[in-house]
Symmetry: C2
Subunit: 208 residues, 2 copies
DNA sequence: GTGGTTTTTGACCGATTGGTCAAATGAACA
DNA sequence: TGTTCATTTGACCAATCGGTCAAAAACCAC
């Protein structure tokens, strides 16, 4: 019984099936939320029977938790890349671009996190939240340094980051509303949003 | 059998119990989402038995739908109040303030809508969406007028409105994350957010 | 009070849910 | 080939879900 949680090195089948399950689960969880998603749905999307799925993961929560922890790293990459040695306006502008691209290219991940946070982050470990806070604090210090040096306008960095998160993720999380108001259009929205946010934050952050 | 849906004028008890149910349902739906909320939870929170609750509303969906339609009006009031005759910067600044206050004072309503839109607005009628679009279009025209007259910077009004929605509602919808990063503090956050957004949009929208 | 209506209740139902289990099957290596 | 371990399956289960129904209780105008 070398189940997924075993410490032994996983077999080829274990790797493949585990990936298939997580891919399917991302689809379902993002679309239906944790409570709305069912194991049968996930199993079918992954091409497995329900008991077979539960051979690889102990529970519905285990799948969800694995997904959250795996994707958080990816999700925070754009923030991680902010370079204290770079030009402040360029760094922040590039950060906004990266976040916007993530919103466009990984909307399921965005919705997965949105669902989780909306419900009060019940499946997020304190350690994970602490790591998130540590990363934000680190970047806040950088931005504060830039502001103190007069290289950008002194705006509260915490709320600056929140506003960037909010505006960029909005296009993934509330896509239905955006499309409903702007009309269909395969993806002209991304370009418009990019131009808008670029101008808003450039004007907002340019010193003087 | 003068059930809630009857055309007859409602009795005192009908009015009272209907309100109690909707108040309880707002609590539960906002916290658990539509699928996560159960009729038993709502009934208990409203101080009724489940069959008694179903005497006033035909189904879980009926409660949810009633809630959505009732609250959308309130929710859109800040946008409605934008006055084409007013000073552009003052009008938009005041709009942001009103939205931020709503986020602070009505977080349950914010989360109710966030849940609904996140899942693709499955309980929102096309008519409601059309009305929303019409209101946005109307205000977009006003903002475009201001921009053409050179009274504010010419930024895409649709994305301007989206960004205001996103940034203000973020403080209600993702409150757990905000608190986790900023630390507890009963409500100092609101003041900080208000100051930040005020400066960001003033700088972003001031012409020239 | 009385009669008719509204409101409330408990007992119940079929469907779905997350999850278990023993047995059957498959893969791989000696 | 046989053996051992990994994988898969179908049958099953208890709990929970949204919802029904007939009868009891409460309400209210007369």
């Amino acid at each position: 019984m070398a189940r997924a949680e075993s410490t032994r090195t996983p077999t080829r089948i274990q790797r493949e099936k585990t990936e298939a399950i997580l891919a399917a689960a991302l689809d379902i969880f993002a679309a239906e939320g944790f409570r709305g998603a069912t194991l049968d749905q996930i199993a079918e999307a992954a091409g497995l029977s329900k008991p077979n799925l539960l051979y690889y993961f102990d529970s519905k929560e285990a799948i969800h938790q694995t997904l959250l922890e795996r994707l958080l790293d990816t999700w925070l990459n754009p923030l991680r890349q902010i370079d204290p040695a770079g030009d402040p306006l360029k760094e922040l502008g590039a950060y906004i671009q990266r976040k916007l691209e993530m919103s466009r290219d990984m909307p399921r991940e965005s919705r997965l996190f949105a669902n989780e946070i909306l419900r009060g982050a019940p499946h997020m470990s304190p350690a994970t939240m602490a790591a998130l806070k540590a990363l934000v604090d680190e970047k806040v210090a950088i931005i504060n340094g830039w502001a103190k040096a007069g290289r950008i306008e002194a705006l509260d960095p915490y709320h600056l980051i929140f506003s960037i998160w909010a505006t960029t993720q909005h296009y993934a999380d509330f896509e239905v509303q955006v499309r409903g108001i702007l009309g269909p259009s395969e993806d002209g929205h991304h370009h418009d949003a990019s131009a808008f946010l670029s101008r808003l934050y450039t004007r907002g952050l340019t010193p003087g």
